[in-house]
Symmetry: C3
Subunit: 221 residues, 3 copies
């Protein structure tokens, strides 16, 4: 574990804060989805954990970057377990039911934050711009993909015809652009996360659609 590459030290406070907020946001979204699928307590914790840590872990495996965020900051695994159990008890006590809408806000936040920080971390690992952006997209979407695969449905990121991964892609290029223009790391992170978060909410509000493969004889298109 001692052979940390040089660029590891560059993980700034801003990146750390973002990693934490995004992780909690995604954990919440995984929690809601697992509850909607009627998983048991263990399933809820696992799906929340997969959604929260899946994207960042995939990015780190691909970048050969160790230790993982959740290994280095083991406290956050406790936080996640507490969050999952607390949310279950809270919602049962209040007779609240998890709805699909309740998932959208934390999910949009996690999307923006992870796309921004994933791209930046990959850039610091000397990846070419496009690869860094793709890594950002993976960081932002893979947790949700894992959540959907485990819950046995086609990942909504690829099939619900609403802008999601494409916004993470946009956000990645915002990071690349701001840094190319000489903007600082924090500015790049903030700008990208805000753009993605804003566009996602706008897209949901205005019902934007990603074009699908259209068929002549297809009544559904």
């Amino acid at each position: 574990m001692e052979r940390l590459p040089d660029w590891w030290g560059a993980l700034s406070t801003a990146q750390l804060v973002i990693e934490i907020v995004a992780t909690l946001a995604f954990a919440l979204s995984g929690l809601v989805e697992a509850a909607r699928k009627r998983l048991d307590v263990v399933g809820v914790c696992v799906v929340a954990g997969l959604t929260a840590f899946g994207g960042g872990t995939l990015r780190d495996v691909l970048l050969d970057r160790r230790p993982f965020f959740w290994v280095q900051h083991a406290g956050w695994v406790w936080a996640l377990l507490a969050l999952a159990l607390g949310a279950m008890l809270f919602m049962r006590a209040r007779h609240l039911q998890p709805t699909e809408r309740a998932m959208l806000w934390p999910d949009a936040l996690g999307l923006g934050l992870f796309a921004a920080s994933g791209t930046q971390i990959a850039l610091q690992a000397q990846m070419p711009a496009l690869i860094a952006v793709v890594m950002g997209v993976m960081t932002a979407t893979f947790g949700g993909v894992l959540r959907d695969v485990v819950c046995n449905q086609i990942p909504s990121a690829f099939s619900d015809h609403r802008p999601y991964a494409v916004l993470a892609f946009t956000g990645g290029w915002v990071v690349v652009g701001v840094q190319a223009l000489g903007g600082g790391d924090e500015l790049a992170l903030a700008a990208a996360a805000l753009v993605v978060f804003g566009l996602r909410l706008l897209a949901l509000q205005l019902d934007w659609r990603v074009p699908a493969w259209r068929f002549e004889d297809d009544p559904t298109s």
Copy 2:
């Protein structure tokens, strides 16, 4: 492959034996599930292999630990292929049908052994206790999760409302506890594996349930 870290040499004979028995136990459980899903011969071999080696391989990728068990001991891949083909021929000859019950015993054994050895190997890799336990849970459950994902169903570990991952979690803490109390490695392994195996059989026998997310208006809860 020569750059084995120091803690690798610490893989004791007990750990090796356990890895082998657990691998065969899980292979058998994968085999039965694949047969029940009517996969072809290739599918049966692959699903048996995924179930058997998936958890340990994930643990090793996360710990950045090489070579993998199945790479270093390639003979076990042959053993697995022989087991899968042999079991198919044997069951066809005897007109035996794979049942869900037939899967439970080897599965419970693999669960206990992998949870124990996974936790211990992660502890030897200097992981914090909680992370080591989580790694043990992954080692023990990920093979089954892969099996279920490939067979296109929600992983039973998260959805069947019976204690499974939570027992692996318990077993991991038994390893941590015994070692903290000064017990030797073999004792920790044996105690944890036995606790998990016993509790699992007891849970199935007594029909213990993991609490689910309950809804007010839900007739099924």
Copy 3:
């Protein structure tokens, strides 16, 4: 990224060409499947990318081999995006519909090429013969497995009862055999890829079947 192992330099021009052709062939097969599932543009690009790069990336993660093909040759990610978008526009303009048959040829080509090159790369990484062959099978099939898992169906490689993974397995042994007999790397690659490609087309043409687990009382077998 500078610590390339010795055997990396051995990636010959023939291997590079094969990696590219196989990647494009699999991208095309992922594209057709994603279109048949009515995924949106993003889903089509992602599934094409997973199918194309998934197998090689898994092989490289397991071999601890960096940089990945698609990281080192980032241009091919652009090529893939262009291919996916171009194919969508082209097929819409021509009123072509993606059929299952259209997927079979590029898929057979990718299968042969990836099985051959995956085995050879693993052999160069000092893997034992069986492990190298298994790595070749993974390289050749994992992309398609990812494609099917994301599209929420049992991987056709394990369930359609047609020879697929078993042909990749055969091809891997052709590589091992030709090299053991003193044949050059290029010869081994070409022979194995041709054998797999040819057998796959033959198998589809002649409707060869992989035996399944047969049940006495099963009307479908």
